[in-house]
């Protein structure tokens, strides 16, 4: 403080620096090349009549397509909820000091990650052939609830089980990565305040682990949105987006435009997932950076500026 006052007294405040910025021609050339390639791609897509864009427009908001979008969303959201809940449970079980409990979690992850999703879906489709009835009650003892498998495990339930249980195994590893990313000192500090093991997990560790858990979970959600198109493997139609598009082109033979319709909707849904992820990451990033992360807009405005 004192020194700067002295300097100021002697010389006055120096002028703000207004230097001529370095020219960056490479940056503009690269941008031009990319734009030319992009423009020619767009042009070919628009001018090629085989794409049949008028048919795309005709079916984009067709009620069958829209109901397929809704079904896909339902399937994705419910499967992810099941997957995340199983994932948290398995990750916490993996950390258990009880070897039977942690072993069970290991076995679950080993099985559901180690076999193809498509095969798992086929199995759920054949579940009724494996078990005619489902009995809930005391293991090896009397049962209280008898369910007819074919009536209970509808194609939709089979799809949920297939996607949800498979996702649980992947989410377990994602959650575990989050848990071990939290410094051990956090657990010790919480323990020294008298918190129990589950309280520490719920109040201290998991909220911090979220920062690490969220980006790969966004990945998983986007995969799930698209993987729901495998749902036919359960042996019957779930009427999700791709199946609906297929039903239409099976009748009209307008295959390409209907696949484009499906793609446009998949893109729209994943874009919404991006936005959700952005806000969740901001919520759980609180307290981890002094300035906060640069917003999308700030990043665009610094393109070509001298600060870069």
């Amino acid at each position: 403080m004192e020194t700067s006052e002295l300097t100021e007294a002697r010389t006055g405040r120096p002028e703000e620096i207004e230097a001529v910025p370095v020219r960056r021609p490479g940056r503009w050339i690269a941008a031009a090349i990319v734009l030319v390639i992009a423009a020619s791609l767009v042009r070919s897509v628009i001018t090629n009549s085989s794409f049949q864009w008028h048919v795309v427009g005709q079916y984009l908001f067709d009620h069958r397509i829209l109901s397929g979008v809704v079904k896909t969303l339902e399937l994705t959201v419910l499967s992810m909820v099941i997957g995340i809940l199983i994932g948290i449970l398995m990750a916490v079980m993996r950390q258990s000091p009880n070897p039977i409990v942690s072993g069970a979690s290991w076995l679950y992850i080993w099985f559901f990650r180690g076999t193809p999703l498509y095969v798992q879906l086929l199995f759920w489709g054949f579940f009724g052939a494996l078990y005619k009835t489902i009995d809930l009650g005391i293991p090896f003892g009397p049962s209280f609830i008898h369910l007819n498998t074919n009536a209970t495990i509808t194609f939709f339930v089979a799809g949920l089980l297939g996607f949800g249980l498979n996702e649980g195994a992947y989410m377990a590893e994602i959650v575990r990565a989050g848990i071990i990313s939290v410094d051990e000192g956090q657990t010790e500090a919480a323990a020294s305040l008298g918190m129990g093991r589950l309280q520490i997990m719920r109040l201290i560790v998991l909220p911090q682990a979220m920062r690490v858990i969220l980006p790969p979970t966004g990945n998983e959600t986007i995969s799930m949105l698209k993987n729901t198109s495998l749902a036919v493997a359960v042996g019957g139609s779930l009427f999700e987006l791709l199946t609906q598009a297929q039903h239409i082109y099976d009748a009209t033979y307008q295959t390409i435009p209907l696949l484009i319709v499906a793609c446009l909707w998949y893109l729209a849904m994943t874009s919404v997932a991006y936005v959700g992820q952005y806000f969740l990451e901001r919520r759980y990033g609180r307290g981890f950076s002094r300035a906060g992360t640069a917003s999308m807009r700030e990043r665009w405005f610094t393109f070509g500026s001298r600060q870069q």
Partner: protein, 253 residues
């Protein structure tokens, strides 16, 4: 005067490495004990044993007349259930070298989370008490600040307030100023001095000789898992009897 901490022949091993080789110490209620010693002497481990973050392998360790981690009945030791251990830990405050504040909570939330969730204090009461505690350590204007935006000294004072919020009967400090810039040490030591004046029983592992001399009722010098010598600060720091103490003090003073 009643005894707050009683350690008798405390042993602690990590695998085959013996870290504590028979520690006998006692601290009376309202007293301040400073533990000095080179790194690896077992002083931090001893502190961690006191609130059962580490289990001892032999000997007896009791706080306020109750064994740590065990119940003794008919000459046999029974391990305490996890929730009982947690409840007893809540009565012992601990301040860590690296603060270990919860980064996803504001200063005030750090201070109130345990009273609310562990003790069941109503939210409003906990917040009021938390504000008072943060004021007491000079952070009245930082209630809603996240730890990342606080200096090390401020973070450590939040950590002290967080421990005090549980109204502990004993406070443990594990090198509370070792990770701080020199100019920030003073504020933390002032907060601790204030606490000692208010009559808190404190066990402080530290390298701050000035603080030990001024505040401690008892200074303990540990080396290689044993207590080399202990006594009033004037004796241990002023005229140490053991060669090992003398050579350590000549290096740190």
């Amino acid at each position: 005067m009643t005894v707050m901490l009683q350690a008798e022949a405390v042993h602690k091993r990590f695998g085959r490495l013996e870290v504590l080789k028979g520690i006998d110490l006692s601290v009376d209620r309202g007293q301040v004990m400073c533990i000095l010693g080179p790194s690896g002497s077992g002083k931090s481990t001893f502190l961690r044993c006191i609130n059962h973050l580490e289990k001892i392998n032999a000997g007896r360790l009791s706080v306020d007349g109750e064994l740590i981690g065990y119940r003794e009945s008919g000459g046999k030791l029974y391990e305490l259930r996890e929730d009982v251990v947690a409840r007893k830990r809540a009565e012992i405050g601990m301040v860590f070298q690296h603060f270990n504040l919860f980064p996803h909570m504001t200063a005030l939330e750090n201070v109130t989370v345990a009273p609310i969730r562990v003790k069941g204090v109503p939210r409003g009461d906990a917040r009021l008490r938390g504000q008072q505690l943060l004021e007491r350590v000079g952070l009245a204007d930082k209630l809603d600040t996240y730890p990342v935006a606080l200096s090390g000294g401020q973070q450590q004072r939040v950590a002290i307030a967080r421990a005090l919020a549980m109204e502990p009967k004993l406070m443990l400090f594990d090198e509370p100023t070792s990770a701080l810039d020199p100019e920030l040490v003073g504020d933390v030591l002032d907060a601790m001095r204030q606490l000692a004046r208010d009559g808190m029983t404190m066990i402080v592992v530290t390298h701050e000789m000035g603080f030990a001399r001024e505040v401690a009722d008892q200074v303990v010098f540990m080396d290689e898992g044993v207590v080399v010598e202990s006594g009033p600060p004037a004796e241990v720091l002023g005229s140490p009897r053991h060669e090992r103490t003398r050579s350590f003090l000549s290096k740190v003073l």
